[in-house]
Amino acid sequence: MIKFSDKQLKIPQMQRPVFLVTGGMSKFGRAVPEKRTEELVIDSFVEAAEFINKTPAELKEYIHSCYYGHFADHFGDQLLGEAVIHDRLGLDPLGNIGIKTGGATGGSTLWEAFKAVASGYSDCVLAMGWERMDEVPTDEGNNYIASAADKDWETPLGHIYTGYYAVMAQKYWQVFGKEEESFRRTMAEIAVKNRGYARMNPHAQGPMDITVEDVLNSPVVAYPLRALDCCLMSVGASCAILCDEKTAYELTDNPLMIYVSAGSHTLRVADRRDMDIPLLPNEPPDQYKDLGERFPGGDRYPGFTGFLAARMAAYYGYRMAGVVDPTEDLDLVELHDAFTISDIQSYEDLGIRPYGEGRTYVESGDCYHTNPHTGKPGKLPSNLCGGLIGCMHAVGATGIMQTVEVGQHIWGRWAEMHEDQSKWDRFGRTKPDDWTNLQVEGAKRGMAISHAGVGSHVTATILVHPDHQLERKES
């Protein structure tokens, strides 16, 4: 049983508020042979500048330091790739640094950028993330991704990262899913939802109009996970500009407050030791006293079923931003749906539902833009961009793309960024005849979760409209 000290559990303190001013993203694809990485990066930067009616040169004049998220040097086959990008963006001689935390790289890049502004070091910073995963065949790509597991204790076992996570999926499936057909269908519903929302997103790589049966009939990757339960492997870039209050209002009339927090846990799931469940603000002390009775085998925490890093990111982040109950206090979320079942696990880590009850977030219809059971707006829509399953997982860009998407809803500009026929044409994609505006009406607060592999790193990025702030909590 391990314990944490009060000092370790201190709620992070900023010296001043931080604002998200703008963001942008490139097209995402499995392969983009016609462009170098820096061209994709520039595409996303230009989109961010145009979003606030600036030229790229005008926006660059404000930037003081730069944070670059790019996970896999192996894939890029270029050490110091960040320096290449920095030069191509014409941002020398500004200080810059590369950030690598696996699947959470995008979120961690925002975390570093956020702290630079919160501390007073910089008044305006660039957080830019990208990944290029198309320059090796898929099996070599799988080997590279497996290199992010422990090289001596895990990687030789199949050189397949999916397998290292899939043992967790199996445990959750048996303990909390109870191997029920209904649970399996709920997992499939997530794949159908996210691929369906991706159809409305010109940036998205994996739009599909499919049914639960299609997911259940797709090839088994690692039972119970099937091909359509799994996220994409992608190429692309995304960026965000963070500022202090004064600079933010010089650049735009409508910046959003941003909070970023982070948690971590062992790289090898094998090394996890038992502990009490750290409670979120909406969970009473006795919340989990009978968890093991209701779900036999589910009382070992975090065991192989929970993501402590996600729980800790929420633990810090909710209190920084004043969130008590995410379902009540937030209007939408972008979650790290690497697999349908890990998406369900994260609902519990984040307190959207208590541990053991994640499936009800989907089954209630709360996670939809429009609740399929009531026809009314979903209570907390998730992954309206399509998520990692439908939109992309260009690792270094993912957490930033999710944050920009949430921002576009709060700015009330989602349709503007997704409907424009010229963008569909530019990306060589066909806009569906039934294109639907997924703008969350009246969105004031949202969150994006960025998550690495079996849960070694997780960040929570919370965006709040300045007119709708909540009260920070100290414990």
Partner: protein
């Protein structure tokens, strides 16, 4: 490809002694589109890394000798005092003191249980295990950690009792030298070159 001998390494007096060739160069090839326009080039390579096990070396040596070694924190004032770690941790994660190596072979033979498992047909490049791979995560009596490995006989189930087998005849000196089989498996059924230790 060159006919040169692939590289081997010894350590003498704290220095690496390299013998043979550690990389094999190949020419690049152009990549063109359907109109014959140049899009890029291939960048082939074949190279050998040198990797030291450091304080974990006894674990990997032990597998080839039919032993499963763990470590234990013996620091008197540490909250983790008495905790046994498998995977082997050189230092205690709490006090960072040097752990004591303990032989867990008999514990593993008597009380190893499958905590969870996964069967997959998909592997990455350089995989050498036969497919499908049956991953098993094995828990031991009195050990707070859960070791990942592979089952090489039968079909895995949560709660199943398993015993370790070891590649003692031609060890690779990697984690692949350890495999698991259901309790009661006969020696004739296990992987070639493996023994019960």
């Amino acid at each position: 490809m060159s006919t040169a001998k692939r590289g081997k390494v010894r350590v003498e007096n704290g220095r690496y002694r390299l013998d043979g060739q550690f990389h094999f160069p190949y020419p690049n090839e152009p990549i063109r589109n359907e109109d014959g326009e140049l899009m890029g080039v291939t960048n082939p390579r074949d190279l050998t890394h040198v990797h030291m096990y450091g304080g974990e070396a006894p674990f990997f040596e032990g597998l080839g000798q039919g032993k499963l070694l763990g470590t234990r924190c013996d620091s008197q004032n540490c909250d983790a005092n008495g905790s046994i770690f498998i995977p082997f941790r050189i230092h205690c994660p709490d006090c960072l003191g040097k752990n004591t190596i303990v032989d867990m072979t008999e514990t593993a033979k008597k009380g190893a249980t499958v905590h969870t498992f996964m069967i997959t047909e998909r592997t990455g490049a350089f995989n050498t295990l036969p497919k499908p791979i049956r991953f098993v995560n094995v828990e031991f009596e009195g050990v707070p950690t859960i070791l990942m490995g592979y089952l090489s006989v039968g079909e895995p189930e949560i709660g199943m009792k398993v015993v370790p087998i070891f590649n003692t005849t031609k060890p690779s000196y990697t984690i692949l030298d350890l495999s698991w089989v259901p309790e009661g498996t006969n020696e004739s059924e296990i992987l070639e070159g493996f023994t019960f230790g």
